[in-house]
Symmetry: C2
Subunit: 246 residues, 2 copies
């Protein structure tokens, strides 16, 4: 199995084989979790960085009266908050959506690996800033986009992020998340998610059956959803000048 973190970071920098090995060494303590289990709970003290190796997870927050908002979705290769240690307590929870394989990375090993390689340090920065950009784009979606645009935009985003770690086949990818969770993520009711999916299917923009998503015409879905991929910053612009140095 290829370390999905390596795969993801190489969308930004070209890594030497030593750097790749260093990143592999970080993945030591792993644990397997079932679907809809908590990884870290709101109020807990953060102990380590959680790196998703397999499966889908999420950040979420539950209000007192039970309303639940999924704040971000984590895919293989995603690190959940590389620097939470600075804060005393978690202000949200991390939970799995599907069954997951998660690596627990300690703070010292993060410090170590970034101290050893400037390129990895910069790549970690890139990963953090892109996560923040994704969070901002969710704000735009929730604030401005209609249900069809909102869902379409999410499909575009997740498809591109899955593609960046090699988890797509042509126009298809696994999509193992329930309509209820989609609703909690998009601020829509389950019922309305269902109707919106029906509409997107009727328009020929997506196919979604079982746990398989197909986007037959990606540009069409992009423009229907006002999706502009530039916020994902998948440009490997600096790599040319960075090749060779460590």
């Amino acid at each position: 199995m290829v370390n999905p973190l390596v795969r993801k970071l190489e969308n930004f920098v070209r890594l030497s084989s030593e750097e790749r090995q260093a990143l592999d060494r970080v993945v030591q303590n792993t644990r397997r979790l079932g679907p809809r289990e908590d990884v870290v709970r709101d109020g807990d003290q953060p102990r380590h960085v959680n790196l998703i190796l397999e499966g889908w997870a999420c950040r979420y927050k539950q209000l007192e009266d039970g309303r639940r908002q999924v704040i971000s979705i984590f895919l293989p290769g995603d690190m959940c908050d590389p620097h939470v240690f600075v804060l005393k307590n978690m202000d949200h929870s991390l939970g799995t959506l599907t069954s997951c394989l998660i690596a627990e990375v300690s703070e010292p090993s993060i410090r170590e690996i970034t101290a050893e390689s400037r390129k990895i340090e910069e790549a970690f920065w890139w990963e953090m800033l892109v996560s923040a950009a994704i969070q901002r784009e969710w704000t735009v979606s929730l604030g401005q986009r209609l249900a069809t645009e909102r869902l379409g935009h999410l499909f575009c985003e997740l498809f591109m992020r899955l593609d960046a770690v090699g988890l797509t086949n042509g126009t298809s990818c696994e999509f193992p998340i329930t309509q209820a969770d989609l609703g909690d993520a998009m601020g829509l009711s389950t019922v309305h998610i269902n109707r919106t999916l029906k509409e997107l299917r009727a328009a020929g923009l997506i196919r979604l059956r079982g746990r398989q998503l197909t986007i037959p015409d990606f540009p069409a879905l992009c423009s229907a959803s006002l999706f502009d991929p530039s916020y994902l910053h998948f440009e490997r612009d600096r790599s040319a000048s960075a090749i060779g140095d460590s």
Copy 2:
């Protein structure tokens, strides 16, 4: 005039007078902007970190069809993206809401000051993580909270953030932002913002006239808005152990 960045960071760490002076030295190139002017535009190359000294500014994104979402609000003492340099282009714009005094801080001086003082480095981390937490809470608001809760929550957040930089008087503070901008921030129409304010006023939860906001009963507004301040991480817990070292 006290540097509001110093004031803000001291909510997290206790700074020595050298550290305070170092932070003051960062504030060299300042520029004054009128209301509703752009500071940095979507697509631009980031040149420096913008630090707000006076006035209110915001991050925003405009969709092709004109819809506009205010993604975050910046108050005095806020730094706009301390590490944007890693990314090639801005994926959003920064603009003023009111007339502003803004310091342009160069990348080298950020690196310098964090290299000199561990406490400042940690405080900058804290500021970044709190910004991210605020962004997450906006996601929760837009996704789950009703208009009254959403606005009430924003008032609570901004009041606490203003208090952290000494910009409140008892139960009141300046609130110099238009209902149209409030709408763009909360994903609501101007008309509905107006009606929601009316409702909050009728419930005795806020007074808002001119550019002055009063929250007569803060706990009441908190509970009406499901506001839990823990995500702002205004606990100076580590300062005791950190006093003395640099």
